[in-house]
Every structure is written in structure tokens, then in C-alpha cells.
Symmetry: C2
Subunit: 415 residues, 2 copies
Amino acid sequence: MTGGTTLRIDREKLWNMIAEMGEIGKGAAGRTRLALSWEDLEARRLLARWMEDLGLDVQTDAYANIWGVRAGRDAKARPVVVGSHIDTVRDAGMFDGVMGVLSGLAAVRAMNEAKVETERPVAVISFTDEEGGRFLSGGLAGSRALAGLTDIETLKTKRSPEGKSWVDALNESGFVGNGRLEPHAYLEYHIEQGPALADENIQIGVVRGVVGISWLRVTFRGEANHAGAFPMNRRHDAGLAAARAVVELNRLALELGQGAVITPGQLNQHPNLPNIVPGEVVLTVDIRQFDPVSLEHGVNRLKEVVRTAGEQEGVAVKVETLVQTARAAFSEEMVSLVERKARELGYSTKRMSSGAGHDAQILHGLCPTGMIFVPSKDGRSHCPEEFTSQEDMGNGADVLLQCVLELTGPFESAD
Amino acid sequence: MTGGTTLRIDREKLWNMIAEMGEIGKGAAGRTRLALSWEDLEARRLLARWMEDLGLDVQTDAYANIWGVRAGRDAKARPVVVGSHIDTVRDAGMFDGVMGVLSGLAAVRAMNEAKVETERPVAVISFTDEEGGRFLSGGLAGSRALAGLTDIETLKTKRSPEGKSWVDALNESGFVGNGRLEPHAYLEYHIEQGPALADENIQIGVVRGVVGISWLRVTFRGEANHAGAFPMNRRHDAGLAAARAVVELNRLALELGQGAVITPGQLNQHPNLPNIVPGEVVLTVDIRQFDPVSLEHGVNRLKEVVRTAGEQEGVAVKVETLVQTARAAFSEEMVSLVERKARELGYSTKRMSSGAGHDAQILHGLCPTGMIFVPSKDGRSHCPEEFTSQEDMGNGADVLLQCVLELTGPFESAD
């Protein structure tokens, strides 16, 4: 089956499609397509049109996950699913998620043009609300729902800062359907979003799994007081307690080592006026590590650190767990498939874990799952500077195509 | 002139008026009447009605400062001015500012009821935008304008976070007039907003002046990156740099001593999402001290501290001075007047400087100026817990009344 002419992705076409989708939601800095926002829906309509243009059967489910199916010879066989997501964080780059979905379409295009028939169907999917920032849903909402790990009742409780609920946004989206996807295998192609591949000049990252992640919300409750009239030694400054916590959390991450990362990404101070001692701070803390025992240890240490910071300032501390995601260790069969195909195409490879969460970690519970990484310039991601070269993008897409061809079963050109 | 029955404030009536105004803008926590907001205008309408009920001639000027004049025998004499402000911070108590303005009305009521005639007129004033939080104007805007220290052109540049300019809000207020106030002397009666009087169980604070204040805006510009994929040692975390600065600024304030206070009151982080390393933080820092040489030294040290915090994280730091207010040292004649009147009424007194900024510090440049403080429970202020007892309130109002009677010249009852 690899004896014939090796199929290749049309790299320029794929590049242009990524750029075209990158125009949607574009602002002064990057683009913003928060889940189920107007901009996300616009991008979905473009995606659906592109799927239809390729002859795919476009379907959606109760959570607005959207996929297009290319039929196989065996009408009853479960499809090989490839994809990612097209929602973004605020002021995002154009590759995160989008490259994986559109590379799936590029693979279909190559197969269509070569009139390839496969045993199993291929489905190219975009999952709903992968990023999680808009509704503080923790992300991976669409894939979690597909796997039965969340549901409408839970998502009803997730709200944007303006008070919009996840489910209201879903119902207004126009993308709710009654499709049902049962994957035979899942492959997600994504930018690394870190500096490891670029630093070592490696072309393809062979992902062995995704780190475990915990999101905690820490509330520091002190005393709002007049900035001028209240002496330093009588204050209970929630802002100072939070600042001590942020400094100590950084020290903790370095001390934990072994790839542990801790990020106090969101900090909201009240009343947040220049002439008032901060009375309350709400801080989110994101902690990640591949080894589950180390992660649990890290979370416990983290709780100690924030409590100690509060005690130092006489400030009450409440810690809530917002999200907990177990690590996913992908099956060796999928990891070695990606590795083999990359090497057959002549690319350098490196086995690595993903520090970022991906829908693949959820699909991993449903079917054999793998991931392909390509380098991110300077490791930048979730920012306008996010960049992957057309060459690197094309390499990964070709690996994806070759994996799909193997997973869908023996094939031959219809010519 | 102090030989007759000493006039007294109607304490219950004054208390009830403070409570009634405190209902305007009331929310779940305290009341919010930001300068020239709908709530501030509602409170102004109530104030104007109360002034008219007392027979005062209500006037406003080009900056919407509002005052009511009680005529004196000498129609050409400059008035003795008493007052403060009725705008508030967010989630405020009901005493700050309001007590001073309404005690002025209570003094007029006592004089009216006793049919007192004075040589000079008395004017009870409420200054516009004392607090400064809404438009980041630095506060004291109305009194500054009266003193020629700011003007319409400057105030046009001051905007609320939603983009409303100070001057647009002014023009829509309905309180712009063509009055012109030329004070003979100014007296401001206010809660202490700190714990000194309550801690020492003193009834009347005799204010010798107001500390100098600087507001700085510090911008930390780092790199927004993915929270999971970007290792700790490759980050340029603006949130961490800002946290280091907040911790070190607290250490600096304690080290400076001599009453120095430093408050990082407003912190805005971008993009402020849980799964992104903060790329930028904008922090305001408020620093105050009575001795001007010490304050200048403190500001210089502050700038070093924030720059060092940025350098530690490879984060760029920009420091801008938003506001600088020189300290005001009141004239001994006014300070001793307040002290003498308080002692004549049998109250314990303490000379002190004010750590909070007040319109009095601006009026000080125009005319002999003094201030009267009364205890704040637990030193709390700028928060719903702000509280001064009816007894303390009444003591200070009686001192105010006696000072007004002396400053307006010999008087006699018309009976």
C-alpha cells in the first residue's frame, strides 16, 4: 500500500485556507474567536462550506461539534477521525487548532484528487469550546460531551463574565444537530505551542500523551481601606497576599521541576481603584505535569503556598478546584504509527508529552488516539506572534495523511 | 460673643440627612456615586433642595461645584466657606465627604433657628469629583478648577474606562453655572478615615495639613504564552513581575517609615485568561507622606523597585506620573481656632496630618484653611463598614458651627 506514488498535501492551498480563516475575528492584535461567539460561528460557516465543497457529509451533534464524513467502502465501519478545533483564545495566532482541522480537509482533498477509496470512512472534526476561556468551562467541552464526561446540565452552569451561559450560546448557535460520532481511531495534528522542537531543530513531535491539568480558583479576602489614612501595619491587603502567592507559586514550580508549570493567569482585584487598599482578589492558578503522582503533590504544595501568603497578611483564603484533567498516555500502537510514518517521509522525530491540553486526551478514552506536533517559532502560542512555517506545516500534514491512509485500511486508486 | 447660650447642632436631624443621602446609589455592598454619574446627580438634586429649604442662594460654577449662600450684613464681604463633597468611591460608606457638607447645612439651620445674623456670608459647598476614581482624574478636580490648577482642556483628556470624558459628563450634568466663589476662609469637616483617633480615644482631630501624594502608573510588558507548553525558565511573565513589585513596594513602605504609605490599588492584567501567561500588567501605585523631601525620596525608591522587579523577569517597565499633589501645611491661625473651639466645648483633641487628600489642601492655596476630624470606627473608610457614631459626628459638627460663628464676625440673636 505504500508501494505506489506517495500522496502529498497541497501545501500552498492549505496555507491559504489557514490564512483565510485567520481573518475571521481579526483585531488590532491577532484574532479572537471565543467559543460560540459571533466570530466562532462565522468560522464554522466557512468550515462547513469547505467541507461541502470537498463532498463531505456535514454533521453536528447536540454540543455543536461539527464534522464532515468521507464515505468508505464499508458503510458500517467506524470512521477514522482527524481534527482539532477552530475556536481561539483572545488575541490568538492563526495556527492553534485551525491547522489540525484544515489539514484534515487537505488530506481529504489529496485523497479525492487521487480518487483514493478506503475501507473505513474518514471524518474531519472541529470540536466545540476547546479553549475554555470564555465560559471558564475548563475547555475541551465538545470532546468531553462526546465522551460523556460532561452534559447539558453541567454546561448550563458555565457562564461568561457578562452572564451568558454556555447552553444559551449553544442554542443560539444554529449548529446543534442530532449526529453521533463513533470513532475507530483519532488523530490530532497541532502546533507544539512550546519551544522544544524549534530549540532542537526537530521536524515532527511524536506525542506520547498529554499532561494532567488542574485549575484552581483562589479567593483572597482582606479589607478595603483608604489608601492614605490607613497605616501599613494595620492593613489586610488582599492584593499583597495575592502578590506574595504569585511570587511563591513561581518559586514552587521551579522547585517541583520535572516539567511542572504553574500559571496564575487571571487576577481580578476589587474594588480595583487607585486610592483604595485592595479588599479582595480572585486568582486562577493553572498547574500541569505529566506524572500524576507529581501533579497531585504539586497541587497540595500549591494550596499550602496560597494559604501561607494569606496568613502573612491576615487575609482569608478560599481554594476551589475549577477543573481537573487526568493525564492521557496514548497507546503505543498510535505513537509508533506516527513515528514510523514521519520517518518514512524522511523527517526527524522526537517523542514528547504535550503540556497543553487537547481534545485528543479526551478521545483517548474512546478509541486509539495519537497526536502529531510541528515546531512553533520561539515556542510562542496563544498570542499574535504564534507562527509555524509553511514547510513545517506541510510536513506534519503529510504525516497526518499517511497515518489516515494506513488507519483507513488497504486502498487503491480508482484510476 | 460666646457669652450667650452656645448654639448647638440638631444631631438627630443631621444623622437622618446623612442616612437619607446614603440611600442614593446604594447596592449590595455600600453605595456608589462616582463623580457626575447618574447617582451623583441624584444626590446633588437632593442637596440643592435642602439648601433651598434653608433659604440659601444656590449657585454652581463652570465645573459644577455647587454651593448655597447665607447672606451676611456686609453684602460685599467674601463668604466663610464650609463643605466637602458628596461623590463617593465604589461601594462606599455614607460619611466620607457627605458628613462635612451636611454639617454645613446643619450649622446654617442652627443659625437660622436662632436668627443669628453674621457680618460675612456663609457658603456651604460640595466640590465636584473629589474622589477621582471614575475618570482617573486624580481627584479634587472641582476644587483644583476653582483654584485655577486645572481647566476644561485638561479635564477633556480624563476619561472613564468606558471612554466617557470628564467634560462630556460635566456638560450632561445640568449643574454647570456661572457662579464665582471667592472664599474668605475654608473649613472642612471630615471623618478621619484612619484608626488614630479611635485607637487613642480622642474626640476631635485638629488637622495641621494634608500629606503630599503621588500616583504613578506602572506598565509591565512581557510575553503572553501558552500556560502549558511554555516552560517556566523561558517565560517573561508580566504578572510575576508585577507581583514582585507589589511585594517589594510593601517592604519599601515599611522601610521608609515616618508615616509613608504605598498602595498598589489598581491592577489590570492582560489577556487575563486562566491558561495564558500574563503578557501585560498595568498597575497604579499611590504613595503619600507629609514631609516633602521624604516623599520625593520615596518616589525615587519606588521607581527603582518596579524597574528591578521587571528586570528580574525580563519584562519591560514603563513608569508614568499620573498625579502629583504637594502637601499642604495649614496656617497656624486656623489650626489653633479649631483646637480652641474644640477645647471650649470640652472635647479631647490631637494635632495630626491627614493621610487622605481633601479639597482643603487645594483651598489652602486660596485662603486660610482648616480641617476638623472625628473618629472612624476601626479606621475603616472607602468601604461599606465605614462608621462614625452619632455622638462623634455631632461633636465635630458643633466645633464646625463654633468656628463658623467666629470666622463670620461678631453676631447677635435678632430676638
